[in-house]
């Protein structure tokens, strides 16, 4: 009898866990939306990236006003929507050139891909829900409501920028075009050398970034004012892509794959605000549930004798 029960539980436990996860996902629909869409295609040789419309072409009517408001929010998120931003990040920090630059998470490539099913939260996410994820994780804040003015404006901006793009078709230049993992892996100590030489000038030795008055100019890369442990940028692979294409500012594509991975690992081996999905206050549980299969990341991993993922406030 005992034996039978044990056998049954072996069979049933995974089922129970799966259904519990599904129920939890249903209760907290925004908690887990960091899954990547399928990889964007490479840009065919001789072709240019999609060209979004010019700013001068934003119409002078009520719609255009909302688009301009969206662009203002995109560039000045902390200053104009402080109630939703818990750190010193602005949309434009990761989405360079106002969300227009290829391989810097351009809005014209993201907008046409939603709504999209995402395996991790087992539901179809709208574009607004995807942006709510940005506020919750990358900006370590409180997502604006789906029907809020802020979301309406940001959506209008992304929609306008996508004028003429093929709906539902993955565009070259979407996301951050991650370089392949280096054969010998990454090295945090080597990454520090790259950081000190190439990044510290603007982001500081302490990674805290630089401000002018109350306004963040160079965003913090770790610490309490940076993206949290749930943000897509905490993945070394994602950060490596962003860095290689866009950093140092104006001198993108100058770091090798190895350097990009090393420096991304160095940056992402520092503490940052806790993952808001923290499961029962347990880093190991949270890693198992949300980080173990989420690209390459150091959440819950012991580095130099210290387990990462404690979070900072």
């Amino acid at each position: 009898m005992k034996m039978t029960l044990r056998c049954l539980s072996v069979v049933l436990l995974p089922l129970l866990t799966t259904s519990a996860l599904a129920a939890d996902a249903a209760r907290n629909p925004r908690l887990d939306d960091q899954t990547q869409l399928p990889k964007a295609p490479a840009r065919p040789v001789g072709q240019t990236y999609f060209q979004p419309p010019a700013e001068a072409d934003i119409p002078h009517n009520a719609f255009g006003e909302l688009v301009r408001r969206g662009q203002d929010l995109f560039m000045n998120t902390k200053a104009l929507a402080p109630q939703y931003v818990g750190n010193e990040m602005n949309c434009v920090n990761c989405h360079i050139d106002r969300g227009r630059k290829p391989n810097s998470g351009p809005m014209w490539a993201a907008y046409p891909m939603y709504p999209a099913y995402r395996k991790k939260n087992n539901k179809v996410n709208t574009f607004v829900e995807r942006m709510q994820g940005c506020f919750q994780f990358s900006m370590n804040g409180k997502p604006p409501a789906a029907d809020s003015e802020v979301m309406a404006a940001l959506t209008a901006y992304a929609y306008w920028m996508s004028t003429g793009v093929h709906l539902g078709k993955a565009q070259p230049g979407r996301g951050f075009d991650e370089p392949p993992p280096p054969k010998g892996g990454y090295d945090i100590a080597r990454g520090k050398v790259v950081y000190d030489k190439q990044c510290a000038l603007c982001h500081g030795d302490d990674g805290a970034g630089k401000k002018v008055g109350a306004t963040s100019v160079f965003p913090p890369l770790w610490g309490k004012d940076s993206y949290n442990w749930g943000a897509g940028m905490h993945r070394i692979n994602t950060a490596a892509g962003f860095i290689q294409h866009n950093m140092p500012l104006g001198r993108g594509r100058t770091l090798s794959d190895q350097e990009a991975w090393d420096v991304a690992a160095y940056i992402n081996s520092h503490e940052r605000p806790q993952d808001p999905r923290l499961v029962n206050g347990d880093i190991d549980e949270t890693r198992k549930r949300y980080h173990a299969d989420d690209g390459v990341n150091l959440y819950g991993v012991v580095v130099d004798g210290r387990k990462l993922g404690l979070g900072v406030q």
Binding site: L80, G213, V217
Partner: protein, 245 residues
Amino acid sequence: MSLSPTRSLAFCLSASLLALPLQAGAADGEAIIQQGGANPAAMPCMSCHGADGKGMAAGGFPRLAGLPEAYIAKQLADFKAGRRENPLMQPIAQALGDAEVAAVAKAYAAKPKVNVKPGPVERPKEGSGAWLALRGAWDRHIPECTLCHGPSGVGVGDVFPPLAGQSAEYIEAQLRAWRGTPAQPAGKKTKAVAAVAPTRSNDPNGLMRHIAADLREAEIKAVAAYFAGLGESTEPFDESQHRLR
């Protein structure tokens, strides 16, 4: 005795200032600004950079008032070492001792920092100087100037100096110093012009030279005019305020 205009101005100024009580010590920054360094070749800074340290547009002499101490010290070191070439400034920098460089940098940094009153979001026209300053030209990998030099170009940290408060003459000259001038082939009515090598190579991590190299002549003029035109607010710099971009 014949004196150049700059020399005679310096002479008059220092003669009139000699009557003022001076603090002891060779490395008194304010004294060097007003009277020059221990070596007579280190002329008083104010004879070109102005009594208030805000520079003189006509001569292309930059504002030094309120610039970061480390930035000024670095520029003087770079003039000495030839990483920043200028026939007027290099001999002066070379005549300043290390203690004098440090004192002068400190004295200028202590003067009022340029302030531009925070305003609403600007809507620049494509192709204008404001556009380059606020939007950049990312198709040529040129970030907007304000991304590194701060909103309204008020400067960021010790490395990115303010562009606000500087004259168009000075900003243009620096962009050309980083860029050099490309050679011009002879035209039907014009003679060939030889290339001029860049005279500035002291930009940290080479962040500035490629930007200057990719700028068009009209853009250099337009963006310099934009920052010069921002003017200066008489209000003190308010660290608690947000600045929109």
